[in-house]
Symmetry: C2
Subunit: 247 residues, 2 copies
């Protein structure tokens, strides 16, 4: 068969992986997926993911593309791969993509979720998906602070130190907080995110929510580019890549 | 100090345990908790849990009592135990109880939750907390069926075979279904539940929701006591003990 491009939506529990991107000497989701794809297709397959999620970060919507000449029908990759993959990686959808479709470069919007277990004691059942914050969070204060993210801004202050990205302009479309019992959920939607940006946003909102950071930290950091105005990078395991939109 | 009775609210991820109750040759939550309690109190402590949850079943609200002469303040057991317990068991609260308080015999109401991942493909992130149902579920049909549970009924048909309980009358106060995306949640509140009863209810509602069982199965089973009218026992890992009320 001739070469064609296939798109996958991949869900994973990042707990036992050193993140998405293939590494030497560490198990990553990309490697496990490429190994399964290569075995299924009986040819060496490399795949490209939209987001290079960190160790411990989860996905419900990682989008991946790869090229193949194999005879597996496009919409059957998910069924075949799910019989081969470990239980903590699942392919939700598979379909044919345009030959020039690129999972990373063509992403128009991404949504991330950050989950917090807000209780005096850590949770047992949610320990791999929620960051634990023992002090009561003022959700209204966090939501007011989060509004400052919205719009097209230079988020240089929100990039992990050592980041080599030159263009730090990003547009945030929404940043919403909600509480249900002990669970606090942050949803952020934007046209892209710098390395660690969502975790720095979460750490800053937690700081404002516990009173350790003054309200206005986000505006000041956007204006000045000063990382020190923001809170610590929140733990990876609270973060989930939810969905990626393409034009 | 004189002997006193202490009450705990215990959360656990049941994935790696052979259930609540102490067993020979299998690791259970009760054993791990008793070992931690005994080490903390420096005396041999036995504890009694309200519900004997099965292997794989989770808890957000298991209620436990034990007696001790140790000097640890009642409200500090949770903090001390949480530094000793594995991360998949957490004590949410501790307080003094009346000397005759009994976690099991004095329970007046219990709430259980059953979670379903309703999608063509199994989930990765929720694989230990949600049963996977690949066929679309008709939530309205399931809710109509669930209403038949409500009230004081003889639930003999809903007990696991081999159960030795004589009194199979139980009162169900509510049985509610809700869907959010791929997640279907069942909440059941009653004055008590027979062994495997909630999992048989879940399996039956899943049968009605997929069209494999005719509506009316629950009413017929209540009337006749015939287990064969009901669906299969749904998997343990979808079940969570949520909360127990005392008078």
């Amino acid at each position: 068969m001739s070469m064609r491009r296939v798109k996958l939506i991949v869900e994973y529990d990042g707990t036992d992986y050193a993140g998405w991107q293939r590494q030497i000497n560490a198990l990553t989701v990309q490697q496990v997926l490429e190994d399964a794809l290569s075995e299924l297709a009986q040819e060496q397959i490399s795949c490209t993911g939209a987001s290079r999620t960190d160790a411990g970060v989860h996905s419900l919507g990682q989008t991946v593309h790869f090229d193949t000449r194999c005879s597996v029908p496009d919409d059957k990759f998910c069924y075949a791969l799910n019989t081969m993959l470990p239980a903590d990686i699942r392919v939700r959808e598979s379909c044919q993509a345009e030959p020039d479709f690129h999972a990373r470069f063509h992403a128009k919007r991404k949504q991330y979720r950050y989950l917090i277990h807000n209780h005096a004691h850590a949770g047992a059942l949610n320990r791999n998906t929620h960051a634990h914050v023992m002090y009561p969070l003022d959700i209204e204060a966090m939501q007011r602070e989060a509004y400052a993210l919205i719009g097209l801004h230079d988020f240089a202050a929100f990039a992990a130190s050592g980041s080599i990205v030159k263009d730090t302009m990003r547009e945030i479309y929404s940043a919403q907080l909600e509480r249900e019992g002990d669970e606090v959920r942050l949803f952020v939607l934007g046209n892209g995110f710098l390395y660690n940006m969502v975790r720095i946003i979460a750490g800053t909102l937690i700081g404002v929510g516990t009173g350790k950071l003054m309200p206005g930290a986000i505006s000041s950091a956007i204006d000045t580019g000063d990382r020190l105005l923001l809170g610590p990078t929140a733990p990876a395991h609270g973060l989930t890549l939810m969905r990626i939109w393409y034009s």
